[in-house]
Structure formats: C-alpha cells, structure tokens
Subunit: 339 residues, 2 copies
C-alpha cells in the first residue's frame, strides 16, 4: 500500500488543497509511478471548472506525468519496463486491447478506454498507477523535467502528421501558437515541411520563427491570405475563436485537410461546395496511439525538440493555475513534485 500525497479540488472552481489517499499494490497489468513532474494542460482547467458537467470531485488533475517506475505488476514486468526507469503517462491511462480500434493499434480510440483524470486521480500527486500499455519510457535524450507536455500537447499535434502522411514536400499551416502550436512548429520544421504560423501576436514573432515557422500570417486579418489560397496540404487548428471556416478552407490545396485538435464549443459550419470542389476534408483527432507516442519521443530526442516551459513547485499549484488562466503562460507550465 502506498500513501499518496496529492492536490485536489473538492468542488468545481475551488482552489486545490492537500489531499491524500492509499494506493493498492499494482494488479498484474499495472505500473506504479512516483511522480517527479506533471504538466498543466488546458483540459485540466476544463475539468476543474466542470465544463462538461460530468466530473467527479474531489478531483486530482494532471495528465502530463513523468517519473520513475516504483512497482510493477506481474504482467507489466514482461513489457520491457523496469523499476527505476523514467516513464511518462499522458491523457490515456488504460485501453482494453481487445476492441477493434485496439486490435488496429489505435488504442487511443479504444471503445473502453480510460483517461488519466476521468474517474481517477491524476498527476498532481506523489504517485499514480497506470496500465503498462500507456506507460511510455522517456528516452535518455529527452529532458524528464520537460517531457510532460509532449505526452499530451505534443502527441496531439504529432499524431496527425504521422497518421495523414504529411511529407517534407507538404505545406502546413498552424493556427494558434501556444502550448500545442509551438510544438507543432518544431515537429514540422524537423519533419522538413514548409510551415506557416497563423498568429496575431506581433510580439511573439521572433519566437515563432525560432520554433520553425517559415512564414507568419495574421490569424484574424484574412485579407493577407489571398496569396496562399489553395496552397495548404494540412491546416492544423490548435485553438480558434470566430474563424471564418469558408476562408480557412479556401486556403487548402486539392485533397487538403483542415484538422482540428482544439476542443471548443463553436461548431464548424461549411458550405458543401467548398468540400466537393477541391476534394477537401475536415477532421479531428484526440492525442495519438501508443505507437505514435513512442515514435514522437524518439523523433523529439533525435531532433532535440522540447516544449518551452515555466516550472512551479507542486505546492504552488494554485499560483500556476492562476498563471495559466491569465493567458500569460510562456507556452507550457510544469509542476515539480515537492511533497
């Protein structure tokens, strides 16, 4: 039995407070991890605010978890994991491994999957138990302190590049250069693609070029877009607010894809002619498969790709959350355990 120290919200929209609970020893397929670092994702705020209306409290948020394995179940021992090894856990904590998407390797689309913070206590804590399948070794060349944001923000933008066959000859646009977008630009640069950042933050321009954008276009003033009509093989939407979908779709090349990874309330509304004429497509995806996660970490190691982070001790979690809510987070926040 492990006594877990954690920070939990007792009710929606409340400050997090110290919270502790006991963790049973891992079952056969489970892994116990001691948490060293945990990123804060926008979805943690969505959960704290109970925006979806179905969140159980007390809630321990956190699903960008990094730390050493402390205990292994009997089956997990045979899955190339060792006590002491630095591993990570992202949005997904368990997949059934026997539904059709799982058999296809698309374990993030598991029909019976469990998310790390849905009905379970997450990573703003000293320990967590996860399933071996979603316990991913962090390569030696990837900083453990900064790996957390790769496991949710990173895979969310990396998986579409892999899944939809983006090539070094592709032209890719990224809307929203924040936590997800700044990683998308780095991945795309290393991938060799021609990359255009859509951002209206003039003061971020140098940073955005540093992440790898070949070109920056304004995201709000679409009068500057005309020269780019029909040019994009992929446009990745990491966040948006009042986008003119017809205008965005007009930027796509034949067979081009408008791909949305930012979960917001505003529906996408599109004239059918825009899709038919250029044989275009609109799609979305959540995180990525276990296979994509492993490939992303190797790619990040090889190309020295890392999120830009600000660190807070976990005991200052409420300050960190307030900083994230202020909109001034410098790309991605990570909590360092100090129990």
């Amino acid at each position: 039995m492990t006594n877990v120290k954690a920070f939990a919200a007792r009710e929606q929209r409340e400050q997090l407070k110290a919270f502790s609970f006991d963790l049973e020893p891992p079952k056969a397929e489970e892994v116990e991890i001691e948490i060293m670092h945990c990123g804060i994702c926008h979805t943690d705020l969505v959960f704290l605010d109970n925006e979806w209306g179905n969140i159980r409290f007390p809630l321990v948020p956190g699903h960008e978890i990094v730390g050493p394995v402390t205990k292994l179940g009997d089956v997990a021992k045979d899955r190339a994991l060792q006590v002491g090894q630095i591993v990570g856990v992202g949005w997904m904590k368990e997949s059934c491994l026997h539904c059709n998407p799982c058999f296809d390797g698309e374990t993030h689309l598991c029909e019976n999957g469990k998310a790390t913070i849905m009905g379970n206590h997450g990573g703003f804590a000293s320990h967590i138990k996860t399933h071996w399948h979603w316990t991913v070794p962090i390569p030696a060349g990837v900083s453990a302190a900064d790996a957390g944001p790769l496991l949710c923000a990173g895979i969310t933008v990396f998986a579409p590049m892999l899944h939809y066959g983006i090539s070094p000859t592709s032209t890719v646009g990224v809307f929203g250069i924040g936590g997800l977008g700044h990683l998308a630009l780095q991945f795309l640069k290393a991938w060799g693609a021609r990359t255009v950042a859509f951002s209206s933050s003039a003061k971020k321009a140098d940073e955005i070029r540093g992440f790898g954008a070949d070109t920056i276009l304004p995201s709000t003033d679409d009068t500057a877009w005309d020269a780019w009509k029909g040019k994009f093989d992929l446009i990745l939407i990491t966040s948006f607010n009042g986008l003119n979908w017809e205008k965005v779709t007009s930027l796509l090349a034949p067979n081009g894809r408008l791909h949305i990874v930012g979960l917001v309330g505003e529906p996408v509304s599109l004239g059918v002619a825009s899709l038919i004429m250029g044989q275009k497509q609109v799609s979305g995806s959540p995180v990525g498969s276990r296979s994509a996660l492993g490939k992303m970490l190797q790619f990040a190691e090889r190309h020295k790709i890392s999120p830009l982070t600000e660190h807070f001790p976990m005991s200052k979690v409420n300050e960190a959350i307030a900083h994230l809510r202020s909109g001034h987070a410098h790309y991605r926040l990570v909590l360092d355990a100090d129990f």
Copy 2:
C-alpha cells in the same frame, strides 16, 4: 467543318429548342464524337435554371455522352483512340495536364480544367469535340446505350471508394437511393462491402435490395439508427435535406468518413467534439480522375453493373426534363439522338 444539330435553352428556365452551329475540325489534341446517347443529370437542371448565376446562354446541356469517334486530331491519334470506336465523355472535357493535381493524376481537380457544359455546348446534340484525355473508351461489355450515367453519376460514387481505400471488410452507408445512390449500391455490392441504404421510400425497398443493400434504414426517422452507432467506415451522402449531422456522424466508426457528393445549398454544421473524439472526417469530392473512370468502366463490365434507365428520343428532350423534374424518373434518364 461539321454542322451540329442540337437542343439549346435560349434563356434560363426556358424550354429547349432546336439549335445548330458549326464545329471546326479537331485541333491536335481534340476528338470529334458523334453523339448516340446522352444522360440527363441533375446538374443539367441546375445549369438550365442558372442556379449558380454564371451560366452563358444559349446553353446546350448534357455531359453523359456516348458515341463513336468521328475525327481525331494529330496528337489524339497517338492516344489509343480510333475513328469509329465507341467512347464516352462525362463532366470533364479538358484538363491542362501540367498543373500539380494533373501531374498527380488527379486531372478532375485540374486548376485550369474545363467542364463539358461550362462555356461549351454539351451533349444534347449530334456532335461534340473533347480533349483526348477525357475521351474514354467504352468497354465492349458495357451497354453503350446505358453507359452515359456511369460517366457522371457512376464515377461520382465510385471514385471515393477507390480514393479512400474502401475494403470488402468495410461497412458503408448510402443516403439517397436515386441516380447516384442506386449505382453506389451496385458498386459496393460487387466490391464486397457490407452495405446499408438509408431511404424512406418503402415502395423502393425491393429494388434497393436488388441493387445490393444488405440492410435498409429509414433516412428521416433516426430513432432506428441506435444499433448502428459507431459502425460505419464510410457514409456517402448523395442527396440530403435537413439531415441531423451530429446524428449522422455518430454512426461513424473511429476514423470513419462522412463523404458528400451531392451539391446542395445547406451547409454542414458539426460540433468539434464529434470529429475529435472518434478521429472522424467529413469530406467531399467531384466526379473522379481519368484513371478512376477507366477502372470504373472495367469494374462495371466485369460485374455487369449498369444504371437503371428510362430512354427518350432527343427530340422529346423537354418531356424528359419535365419527367426528371417531377421526381418520378426511374433512377436515370438517357436521351437517344434522333436528328
């Protein structure tokens, strides 16, 4: 010089009347065809009604053309075409062959492409000139009299099966069992896919099963859909009116595709969550490439796939159009030249 006899509308929404004009001998890449049969497509009505507002009159409609080659330009002679050979021409009449989509073989997405009835006189006529690229030989085992509708309606539903990798293990739904849908069901049956027709026409049920539908579900009453949630790899929308897009999308399996080939005014409006959660996609396409057209005709010959047609002599074109507008056309209408 060939004197062409034709039927043209002098103004929008007017009856067609006899019309004649002279056709210059074919240029190097052109082919002259004597028209024996020409299908009537819904898009011909859209043009006659000038729904897009940019149609030039007098207009000779018709883009499901079949007949023998009468003359060949010097380059066209070297393209495996012969005088007397039975050929067909569909929606596309010319592609530039040197833009990127053309170089990719996606000549139906040509940046400089010309449609058969856009700015040109179409197939309700005795002769037409086309580019060799879009002059497709009709295989001996495909009825010349009924091949016309394959060249527009047929390719429009066949191309997505080919392009998006539909497999005999796929489950495919078809909304709207009319001119396009009844061909889609026949192709899907021969393809080996599990096929569900969405139709609310009870009196068509036996015919729909005959076309190859394994199951018929009501297209309007979505309460019967529950057992099919998450089952479809592809849902093909050939026509629609007031569909609940969220409900339709909920029928898609992970990675499933909602594909629209029916061009209507009503926009598609979708919550982002529906796309993200199951990694789903919405897309559209116009007709298909020259390669897809050839493959479709060979597939139709091998599997004895043919549209169900009603024939009218071309001199009764106005009666045929009135019949199509009445909504009682028995799947697809074909005009037989009787000049």
